[in-house]
């Protein structure tokens, strides 16, 4: 799997958003996109997930553009900051609904429930779950179709320390299983030992793209996150 981003841009009122950005992603990378609020992290991720249409540039996955839905579908799973589940219904209903729509056997739902420690909550209504649990269900749902690339927008936003650790443990496990993972965070210290690559966005521009240890020793980190 190879993801290629070329001159991707989306600007709102000529300031916010993302200026023309290019990079490539190889199979099995665990990339953290870091930056302050409004830096363009979510905009970039949503364009990769085909959630917003770019003003300019292209995204290709294994040579197919995002507009080619038939070729792309099932290859990318997007998990937004706020869990997007049908609140009125149970965890099991939500997973089975998406399994049906993705033409995935229900046995995969059982696997997800087990792997994400959701078996005790299978009959619980989503609206009664904590945000951490909802996020687990959300990630599990995105994995139903077994996508090669997972995009997570601020997956630990609003979670307490324990839940944040739990989500990072899940990301580590999915990465070990061979998934390519790209996620955003505005707290770089938290993902120091998690990411294999860090991309830093500042004021709509990509200002750093490299290894974590190089980033944390860089002047950019000092400038952006100095206390």
């Amino acid at each position: 799997m190879q993801l290629i981003v070329e001159n991707l841009a989306k600007l709102y009122d000529k300031k916010r958003g993302l200026a023309a950005t290019s990079f490539e992603v190889e199979t099995g990378e665990l990339i953290a996109i870091v930056g302050h609020n409004g830096a363009g992290k979510s905009t970039l991720l949503k364009m990769l997930g085909n959630w917003i249409i770019p003003d300019d540039g292209t995204v290709t996955i294994d040579g197919f553009g995002l507009a080619n839905r038939k070729a792309i579908i099932g290859k990318v799973g997007f998990i937004p900051e706020v869990p997007n589940l049908f609140d009125f219904f149970s965890v099991e209903y939500n997973l089975k609904l998406f399994a049906l729509l993705s033409h995935t056997p229900f046995s995969r739902v059982e696997v997800i429930l087990r792997e994400f420690s959701l078996l005790p909550f299978r009959k619980s209504k989503v609206q009664s779950l904590s945000k951490g649990l909802k996020q687990r269900v959300n990630i599990g749902r995105a994995l139903l179709a077994d996508p090669a690339i997972l995009l997570l927008d601020e997956p630990t936003s609003g979670l307490d320390f324990e839940m944040t650790r739990e989500i990072y443990r899940l990301l580590q496990a999915m990465h070990s299983a061979g998934k390519t993972i790209i996620f955003t965070s505005h707290r770089p210290e938290e993902i120091k030992n998690l990411a294999t690559r860090i991309m830093v966005l500042h004021e709509s521009r990509l200002v750093f793209d490299g290894l974590p240890h190089a980033y944390f020793q860089s002047e950019i980190h000092e400038r952006l996150y100095a206390l």
């Binding site: 917003i52 799973g77 997007n84 589940l85 049908f86």
Partner: protein, 342 residues
Amino acid sequence: MIGNIIILTINDLAIAFKNKTFLLILFIPLFVFVTLNLVDDAGSGPDKIRIGLIQQETLAPDIVQSIRAAEQLVELTWLANVDEGNRLLKERQIDGILTRNDAATGSLELLVLKRDSVQTLAILQTFSALQKVAEGARPDWITNVSSLHESDVQRETLPTWVLMLVLLIGFVILPAQVAEEKEKKLLLALLQTPINEVQWLAAKVLLGMLLILTAVVFLHVLGQFGPVHLVDYVAILLAGSFCFSAFGVFLGFLCRTQASARTLGVIFYLPHLLPSAMSDVSQQLTAVAPLLPSYQLYKPLQSILLENASLTDMAFDWVYLILLGLLMFWFSYLLMKRRWLM
């Protein structure tokens, strides 16, 4: 493709049940009550009454002369026969037909669309005044009033109720549901599956049609009345529910949140409902109503339910509703493709 649409529609129906959308339909009597209190104020009747006379029928000369002399008050149309008069009456081109009342020599019988309408009252008042001028205090010229709509108030208001249901679901319930799926990013989650834009839109329109049909059937069961031409009635109802469901989905796409969708829905709901539903009681509204898409549904509903008309007389309305629905469906598709306000 059909399988995905069915799954989505069933899911949407389950949501509609869970979020108590069905309960909303019970609020319709309140809307009826408010609407009935909005009929024209006293004294705001029509400026000129439009009367039809049968050419072959011999009426008392002084009556005809008085009608002709009162051209400021009465617009006279000569009719070839009663059938032509009935047709013009149904098309609202005349307000009433005067014929000889054989039961009372020298007097007239008035045929109107509705016995208790503003037009009927205006005709009776005008003729009473004409008679006083011509003859003084002799027996009334008009001694009997009959109407094409021979039914009780419940049935008379049935087309209004049906229109209300269609517009309420189309303009208020559906836009909110569409906006909710956008607001909560559920739509985008669904688009990560093999479901495409057309399937999702089709499921939403189907949901609207099912809700409308359920509510209308419930209404008929409660009122225990059915149309004479059932197939025609179902056909116009399907076209109307398709049109306004697609319209509602489009309105939902224009909004980012449920709250704004509801607001926009009500802005469209009332102007579509009131002029059409009240077109029979106000000449000004009768002039305005045909400009609204809702009238293209209301008019056939009224003709089928109250005048036992058939769809062949309303082919234009049926085609209009289908074409408008398709146009709205296409607009929604374009907005969805552009991920509008998502």
